[in-house]
């Protein structure tokens, strides 16, 4: 994991996207993975929100880390994260009301996404602002990647469409269960399965 690996730009990238991918290796932030992945558009916007929040909170924590007293470290991190989440919420509500409506309470719930807090605590607390920013972008992108894969299968099966464009023929019978949150468990399980299998092969080969 990133604690022992050298903290290079490339190392952080491959770590966050693959070797310690927040979703399928660390199994973090899956609550939102279940909730928003029935449509690609929602997933995409939600992921952008998470990328923005993780990136900026990492950056901010890293800048002021020297000033934060140890006792209130966590509290300040939560405050910073909440700040950026509310910014996302305000922007969506003002300029993308339809998406805001569709995402409902889940934008506010970005704050409970363990990935963001985890990166602030595990990375930004002990690294410079530049690397922290990069770490935030990449780990949230790792999250986005997995979510988009899940959303791809769910939207195509549940609605026969991708990003809202119908691509399946008319006779296609939608799988209603795929529109419901629990179905994300099936795909999440399969993705973890595939990911672990590939990784085990890599380790065996190394």
């Amino acid at each position: 994991m990133s604690d022992t690996a050298p903290k290079t730009v490339g190392g952080i990238l491959t770590d966050n996207l693959w070797h310690s991918n927040p979703i399928f290796m660390q199994v973090l932030g899956i609550c939102s993975a279940l909730a928003v992945t029935n449509l690609l558009t929602n997933t995409f916007i939600m992921s952008i929100g998470v990328i923005f929040t993780t990136m900026m909170s990492n950056f901010t924590v890293s800048i002021i880390k020297g000033l934060i007293p140890r006792k209130v470290r966590m509290m300040v991190q939560v405050l910073i994260i909440a700040f950026y989440v509310i910014i996302v919420d305000i922007v969506l509500r003002a300029y993308m009301p339809d998406i805001h409506e569709a995402l409902g309470p889940y934008v506010g719930l970005i704050i409970t996404n363990c990935i963001i807090m985890g990166r602030a605590e595990a990375f930004a607390q002990s690294n410079g602002p530049g690397l922290s920013l990069w770490d935030g972008i990449t780990s949230a992108s790792g999250y986005m990647g997995v979510l988009l894969v899940i959303a791809f299968f769910r939207e195509i099966l549940a609605f026969g469409s991708l990003f809202g464009f119908r691509i399946m023929p008319n006779w296609f019978e939608p799988w209603i269960i795929m529109a419901m949150p629990p179905s994300a468990f099936f795909f999440l399980g399969v993705i973890i399965w595939i990911g672990k299998t590939i990784m085990n092969h890599e380790e065996a080969a190394a």
Binding site: E173, W175, I176, I177, M178, M180, F186, G189
Partner: protein, 319 residues
């Protein structure tokens, strides 16, 4: 050839034999559709299990035949065949093999698969019921007629003929309708100690008690004897409640388990839009199965409840 693919399981065979009359009845009721579903479901089910078991270096269990047979019989006849393929692949791959294969599955595979496609394809399911009889051509010789099941009829206020319910000439899932044949086949299973009678009786009693209670309390319009004879309560009590893998082992746990299935089935049937009550009942009760075994005190006499059920269970061997 057969021996290289299958491991022999006497108990499972007896269940398959007992289902043969039900298949013949289904054939009379719904004609070629039964054959189509059976062929496709068995092929897909066995293939799926074969792929998984080959990885483990094991043979295909004969239990998969039971799963396929029960799954087939629990589907409505006019369901598109590709949906039943999705259902059986899900049943064997996800509900059974992903938990570790035969003997380790928490949920009954046939029930899991049935519920999955039932929820996923609610619309095709709703229009997949057929008028029964005459090898699937209906009385007027018309091929496909979407028919109301007895439960739907009763919701709309018409009472089905009770003899039709007992003999099985009514719309419903392919194998669930004939109370008479199910009872005969079920008794064969009970007397050969393939099925545990306690599970059958407790399931039926649970369902009877609650449906009678709701009827007398004025909550439900369906009289208890009609409630018992329609839907898949009867079929499920003999074939799904008694699944040795997913049912508990202790006597007292079995009583509670059966009552759970019966009552949940009726609750789902009366208070929700899904008419797959029995399936939900079995599915939910499956969750509590091992918990019940854990909570109930050990039987006083050593291994009193054992003979028929656990001898073929690799659960213990593997543990």
């Amino acid at each position: 050839m057969y021996d290289t693919i299958f491991q022999k399981q006497k108990v499972m065979r007896r269940v398959v034999y007992s289902l043969i009359p039900l298949f013949l009845m289904a054939l009379y009721l719904y004609g070629w559709r039964v054959l189509a579903h059976t062929a496709v479901i068995f092929a897909a089910g066995i293939l799926t299990e074969y792929i998984f078991e080959r990885k483990r270096g094991k043979k295909v269990s004969e239990a998969v035949l039971v799963t396929c047979a029960l799954f087939t019989l629990s589907l409505p006849p006019a369901l598109p065949v590709w949906i039943s393929v999705i259902g059986i692949v899900f049943a064997v791959a996800v509900v059974k093999e992903m938990y570790g294969g035969f003997g380790r599955n928490v949920f009954n595979p046939a029930i899991g698969g049935r519920l999955f496609i039932w929820i996923a394809f609610a619309a095709p399911f709703a229009s997949a019921w057929m008028e029964a009889g005459g090898f699937g051509t209906g009385e007027a010789g018309v091929d496909l007629i979407t028919a109301a099941t007895p439960l739907e009829q009763m919701q709309n206020g018409t009472l089905p003929d009770i003899w039709n319910l007992i003999i099985g000439t009514r719309a419903g899932s392919m194998g669930e309708s004939s109370i008479l044949l199910i009872t005969v086949a079920g008794l064969y299973l009970v007397f050969t100690k393939t099925a545990q009678w306690r599970l059958v009786v407790s399931t039926l009693l649970g369902a009877l008690a609650l449906s009678a209670g709701l009827f007398w309390a004025g909550v439900s319009d369906v009289a208890p004897h009609y409630a018992m004879l329609s839907g898949s309560i009867w079929f499920g009590a003999f074939y799904f409640a008694t699944d040795p893998i997913t049912a508990p082992n202790k006597k007292s746990a079995q009583w509670i388990y059966g009552v759970l299935i019966g009552t949940i089935s009726i609750l789902v049937r009366v208070f929700t839009d899904f008419n797959a009550g029995l399936s939900f009942g079995v599915f939910v009760a499956n969750v509590f199965s091992s918990l019940l075994d854990e909570l109930m005190p050990a039987p006083r006499k050593k291994k009193a409840a054992k003979p028929a059920k656990t001898s073929t269970k690799p659960k213990e061997a593997a543990a």
